[in-house]
Symmetry: D2
Subunit: 288 residues, 4 copies
């Protein structure tokens, strides 16, 4: 949904308990906030409650800090964690790439044309190849080569960029390097990866060639939060595209690229619009 | 979402005004009702608010009548119209058909296998052709022939069946007859029609042949509430399927049948799960 | 493509070699056969050629036997295997089921309404549950219970039905039993199975529950020829459907059912229209 | 299908007549050309035959001119028009734009990354806005302003660029100007336009706003060859995307942009791979 200039977003989750919606909506009413869109879901297997609310303050002066402080009291009773996002907030982002540019180009176009409410503060790569593309968009590009020996140092460099730019989201747009457990942990819940195939069975080297051998009729891509288990974090989006016998392995790779772009861009959009809730190994996603 | 045995559904709409969500959720909280799923939307162009809530009463005895009476007071302040649906409620339905059986067969299968929470009380047709199919499913079949001269009498017969069976929803599963304005009015908001093509430009006779002449690459179907303007009521679902040059007009008709089944079944499911809100000429639909 | 009453289909495959198309098309020309639709493909990795031709004889008397005999000579030079199918040919079929009826019902409807050019000669099951459904369609139903001890005898009973009915295609419409290697071999290339999930990683018990745990956003189905490796034969069709956090395991199962119907019906249609070519572990499919 | 370096493409069409395939395939055989992929179709309502053949010459020296000259004799007997395309041929293209850049950006990316076998020789616009984008890609940009009075002169300027660049294809990537009948005629069969909506009924001003008013659940785009009847030429591709009540008119426009990019890029790819055959008001498309 397109938003008016004064639409705030409140997201929260907590254990299931009578009154979980009321504690949010009553507070909003009492503070003169009109709810324009709201979705809540109770996961009865996990006994966990999730809510996302868009609202417009009816008072001329809306004091976000005061709002948060006051709401924290009530939320505390429900062990509720919550976040408030300002209208038009643009999440600071660092994008990590390797040599392939399809996902990066797609993200940059959506960024440049204002389709993604993000602010790309840096592009980090273990290769110099995509520096030109970054330059044209006026985004700093950091080339940090990596070898098995220099991995800890390289990751420290990356971490420094993430910290110094204040990035709240890291997008691994075909970064092709396995992050260390330590880095995975640091980025938990705020790093999105795109994985080359929907089919877990084709992990390992040359997945598209394996898929070709088997004669699959669909190729896919999965965007997920990273965790320690490479390519196995909580899923945000999945997408597929048809292929046929006339698609040789290189064609599968090409179609895979298209579908990777779509799945990643969609996942990033859902995340920055605060539509994705992470709990344990699963996500709850409130699509508009 | 699959439901527990004790999930009630409350749906409501009213003019936009501060507190529209709160009036619902506070009442539920006060009455010991746990909200398991909720969606609300404010249409800022229509200045209209819509909400759908699923909840499970935490009290052993839930008195629906008392609930409705008590809530009516509060809702009244917001000019809010609302409806409460009991767990496992099955909406009584009358299906109207002509000779084509594809949509009817599809609905009957979903009905027989418990996929649609409806109770088909009668099938009405202006032709005798589908009596066998009805019989096998144990559903009364009324054959009311129609001619231009007998139309008022025939519609009176149909209306009588609808009334006597207590049908809350009428499904026009390829009925192929234009209803009179009077009947459209009587059935306003509770009769769903399926229209043979997505493309308004191909109205009139032999739409699929017109589409063939133009070389379309997609055929579609639209399910909508009926209104006076034939095939132009508020849209509930639309679906499409690819076609190619190798599809002759009869193939387009066949593909159209498949897509009509899907669009109609989906529209009926959304309606009976009380996910469709009708306001003016548009619908608000809370998909799960 | 819908067909005229006199359209024959010739399918063939052979090793790649100069003149593979010419040997077919020249013969058709010389015999006064007009080609209405043709597709050929050379798999350059397998060095294998595939062709499917629809043609209408221009001579009043077309002698199929003489045609086959004469063409066999030329085809032999190319080590070409071929098949000729008469206009309107309906392939004799045996369907095997267990208790679930969704795929069977879908096939029966398409059969009854003439959408599938097959002739269902028998339905075989290890359970009595679906006898009524078979009876209503006037199709013999064989109930052959199975236990680990009686498996060889039961399979012999099944094989006898297949043989006596002259079935050229066996459809495993959720049969739920692992066929013996011997039976797999007997049915090689002429038995189509539907597998409950697109994702090879979720094989084993309760695949939909595993998928739920992982929070997948898509569920799928694969229709394939059976071979010794259970659920791993050459793929004919794959289909997917979106799911969300609000879909509990039982909802995934329900959505899986829908997608299984579609994938299986599509695979059967492709097979009986002689659009599927089997070579080694892969299929070549000429979609219309 | 990805191609070997030596794959030529031969496309042809002619009136239906016995021997239409044979005249092509026999010639190829006689000239030592191995057919790697072939599709033919006979439109029985139009009595017209279409064929597309990919082949690799087995002789070390393949003389295209001699091939064409020799084949022309035989083709003439069938009133067959044909075209031969060299391996790796890149069609010279001129792109026409106005202010919107979404389609242009999409085409430029596919061009830059080698996904489209075209050579963009110029970008022409009636506005200066997109000059930067062209410059970054190193493509000449011509700004020809237009007013009702200067339209003939402006079109003459455009025509001159098309001629001087040797463009074989003109892509109207949201050009937003109605071409004169004369220009339409000049560009007949070699200019592809993208139209903002699938629904012919919403022609005229603000189509997405009209669609919003009606509450459509799908928006679409159509790519077609231009002809005199604005937005009504022979269709190449159509695509759709879901929308909901939460999509305001500006959201419909945004989703429309995405789907326009996809439909246009797909149409251009089909055209330059010589998969589109134009005959009368319809197209025959041999998808791979």
């Amino acid at each position: 949904m397109s938003h008016l200039a004064d639409t705030w977003t409140l997201t929260a989750q907590c254990p299931s308990r009578l009154g979980t919606v009321d504690v949010v909506t009553r507070f909003l009413k009492e503070n003169g906030c009109y709810i324009t869109e709201q979705q809540s879901f109770d996961d009865r297997l996990a006994d966990r409650f999730f809510i996302r609310t868009e609202f417009t303050p009816q008072l001329t002066a809306f004091d976000a800090e005061a709002f948060e402080a006051a709401f924290a009291d009530r939320a505390g009773e429900f062990e509720m964690v919550f976040e408030l996002a300002a209208p038009g907030a643009r999440i600071p982002v660092v994008i990590m790439v390797s040599r392939a540019d399809h996902c990066l180009n797609d993200l940059l176009y959506r960024y440049r044309t204002g389709q993604l409410p993000i602010e790309i503060r840096a592009i980090v790569s273990n290769h110099p190849d995509l520096a030109n593309l970054a330059e044209w968009h006026g985004i700093p590009y950091y080339h940090f080569p990596i070898t098995p020996e220099t991995k800890p140092e390289q990751e420290a460099q990356v971490a420094k960029v993430i910290e110094e730019t204040g990035a709240e989201l890291v997008i691994l747009a075909r970064y092709m390097q396995v992050l260390s457990s330590r880095m995975c942990e640091q980025l938990s819940g705020r790093a999105i990866n795109i994985h080359h195939s929907l089919l877990p069975g084709f992990k390992g080297a040359k997945p598209y060639h394996q898929a070709y051998e088997k004669g699959v009729k669909l190729v896919g891509a999965t965007a997920h939060y990273i965790n320690d288990d490479l390519d196995e974090g909580p899923i945000i989006t999945q997408a597929v595209e048809s292929v046929s016998h006339a698609d040789y392995p290189e064609d599968l790779v090409a179609k895979g690229r298209d579908i990777e772009c779509l799945a990643l861009a969609r996942a990033v959009a859902l995340h920055v619009e605060r539509r994705v809730f992470l709990h344990a190994r699963r996500t709850v996603i409130f699509e508009r």
